[in-house]
């Protein structure tokens, strides 16, 4: 008796309650597909971005030295405010063309190269100024 009732119940479920899983006319079906496409697009973009990102192979330990480096901010401020004027002044005074056919021509060339290399470093330019005064006999 019990078995018969159970089998009848199953038949009843199979006949009435099963609805089709994928209904093309249903709006929620299309919404879920659009959502899936959007998620896939953003995931792809994120993965691609991660591949292109720089310094990904470096660890925090690699940068510890740079992180603990002491930076002289006063020197940077001096470079911002005064290096340009000093550079222009040194360039005009120590230009190798002013020392053509003299014994100081080579020294002037060397100093001029150093000046060009340290164009925006006030500290180095100050040292070069002292060197130029001594070695090239120029008056600042």
């Amino acid at each position: 008796m019990k078995d018969v009732l159970f089998s009848q119940q199953i038949d009843f479920i199979l006949m009435k309650d099963i609805v089709p899983v994928c209904d093309i006319n249903n709006i929620w079906f299309w919404l879920s597909i659009i959502e899936f496409i959007v998620i896939a697009y953003f995931s792809y973009k994120l993965l691609r971005k991660k591949k292109n990102i720089m310094f990904l192979d470096l660890t925090n330990d690699n940068l510890k030295e740079s992180r603990n480096a002491d930076i002289d901010m006063n020197s940077i401020m001096d470079s911002i405010n005064q290096s340009r004027d000093l550079y222009v002044k040194l360039c005009s005074l120590c230009h190798p063309d002013r020392f053509v056919n003299t014994s100081k021509e080579k020294i002037a060339e060397e100093i001029f190269q150093e000046i060009s290399r340290n164009k925006r470093n006030f500290k180095e330019l100050s040292l070069l100024k002292t060197r130029a005064t001594i070695e090239l006999d120029v008056e600042m």
Partner: protein
């Protein structure tokens, strides 16, 4: 568990280093302005930065290092570029900025009308010096 605690401590240490760097820069700028060496007062602050300049160490919503002129003589565009170039020419500072999570250097005038920005990763030369 311990690893996580160390990570959190490192994060706080990094934030303290960032704030210290900004404070040092602002103090040096203030002293040079008061001392009469500088015509314009500069101020550094943390901004969002440019997302296209990001690298592996970039901080979320805090990747920009902005230098702004506050008062004094108005700075022309070439002067703003010059300020940026001085910062970029200091490799040590650039490496420190990168390691502390900055990715963009911005220099702006007082009204925010003229400004320039650079990607720090283009000026770092990190692989040449660090092992790995």
């Amino acid at each position: 568990m311990w690893y996580k605690i160390i990570q959190i401590a490192e994060w706080f240490g990094e934030m303290a280093d960032r704030i210290k760097l900004i404070r040092d820069f602002n103090a040096a700028a203030r002293y040079s302005f008061i001392g009469g060496f500088a015509d314009t007062l500069l101020e550094a602050k943390i901004t969002r930065g440019d997302s296209s300049y990001r690298h592996a160490f970039s901080k979320f919503m805090g990747g920009g290092f902005r230098i702004k002129t506050l008062s004094g003589t108005h700075m022309a565009r070439f002067e703003l570029i010059e300020v940026g170039q001085v910062i970029l020419s200091n490799e040590m500072l650039i490496r420190k900025l990168i390691s502390l999570g900055w990715d963009t250097l911005e220099v702006q005038d007082e009204f925010g009308a003229i400004g320039c920005k650079w990607a720090l990763k283009d000026h770092a030369h990190i692989r040449g010096i660090l092992p790995g």
